[in-house]
Symmetry: C2
Subunit: 174 residues, 2 copies
């Protein structure tokens, strides 16, 4: 669980302990690690979608999200790098709003340290989860599920081009 | 239930029937009528929060949300009138993204038809739900719960100043 990993590196900011308590209290629900990420899209209009919490970056409060480099949000975030997470815990009725700068780390990133983070996020995902990055472009209907079912992935192979790590650095939490 | 009311006036757009099916399939969960509303806030940054679905406006696909006229989102929406709803159904793993123009209807609205809609939304809420608009300004800590507990509200009295109806007119659903 992403939440479990977070506990080990939790910093002492008050919101981190409250968030960890919410994660623990809702851990029996698979969707407790899902939250909504708002960004600013085309024409300055808001965009909003559900993404999965992939843990905190080690020794920090930075929040990691895996995404497909071909998704619309990548272009949106490159254009306006701010995001606001709305994380609602359905069993305890708690809400965390976390806003901050988002760093987009794809395979072309010039910083070796960030490429390492991306690689770690890749290997930290299940093989099933990695397989979706071999599928057709996200947001398009999948013509044939067998395309994904039959895809082969060497579990020791590094991240594919479509794999992108987003890192949100919390600036305001409320 | 808001979802039940929606069925009676459902239009024939494909997304409305899919959404109604999701509402029906998740009706046993109180939080199935909660969704996240993204807007653009100060400095052009995204804002995101959980709100409650209050049904569709009669004979239309317009989505109603009750809110407090003193909340930050009112100023944000007056500045940029677009919103994107991300509605995630936790039992059936379905997501609806609904973007469109948001109309802010508070007590100062010059259109009698809109004031009637606001009044209808007020009386369509439970008395307990109406009481929160008599409380302190939202977003601030509540110093004493008794302030709300002891508040008196005549059930036949019309909407208070703090009560505001938001109506999102869907332009794109995906």
């Amino acid at each position: 669980m992403a939440g479990g990993g977070a506990a080990a590196s939790a910093l002492s900011t008050p919101w981190r302990s409250l968030l960890q308590r919410a994660l623990d209290g809702n851990a029996h629900l698979k969707h407790s690690t899902f939250f909504q990420l708002a960004t600013v899209g085309g024409g300055g209009r808001p965009a909003n979608r559900t993404v999965v919490f992939r843990g905190f970056q080690e020794q920090s409060d930075k929040i990691q999200i895996n995404t497909d480099a071909r998704s619309n949000k990548i272009g949106e975030i490159r254009n306006c790098s701010f995001g606001e997470i709305c994380w609602y815990f359905t069993d305890t009725w708690e809400q965390f709003r976390i806003s901050g700068f988002i760093d987009v780390i794809d395979g072309s990133n010039p910083e070796p340290v960030k490429l390492q983070l991306r690689e770690r996020a890749w290997f930290g995902s299940s093989v099933k989860s990695r397989l979706q990055y071999l599928g057709p472009c996200p947001g398009l209907p999948i013509p044939d599920d067998d395309l994904i079912k039959d895809a082969h992935l060497d579990p020791s192979a590094g991240p594919v081009d479509a794999f992108c790590l987003l890192v949100l650095d919390p600036e305001k939490v409320y």
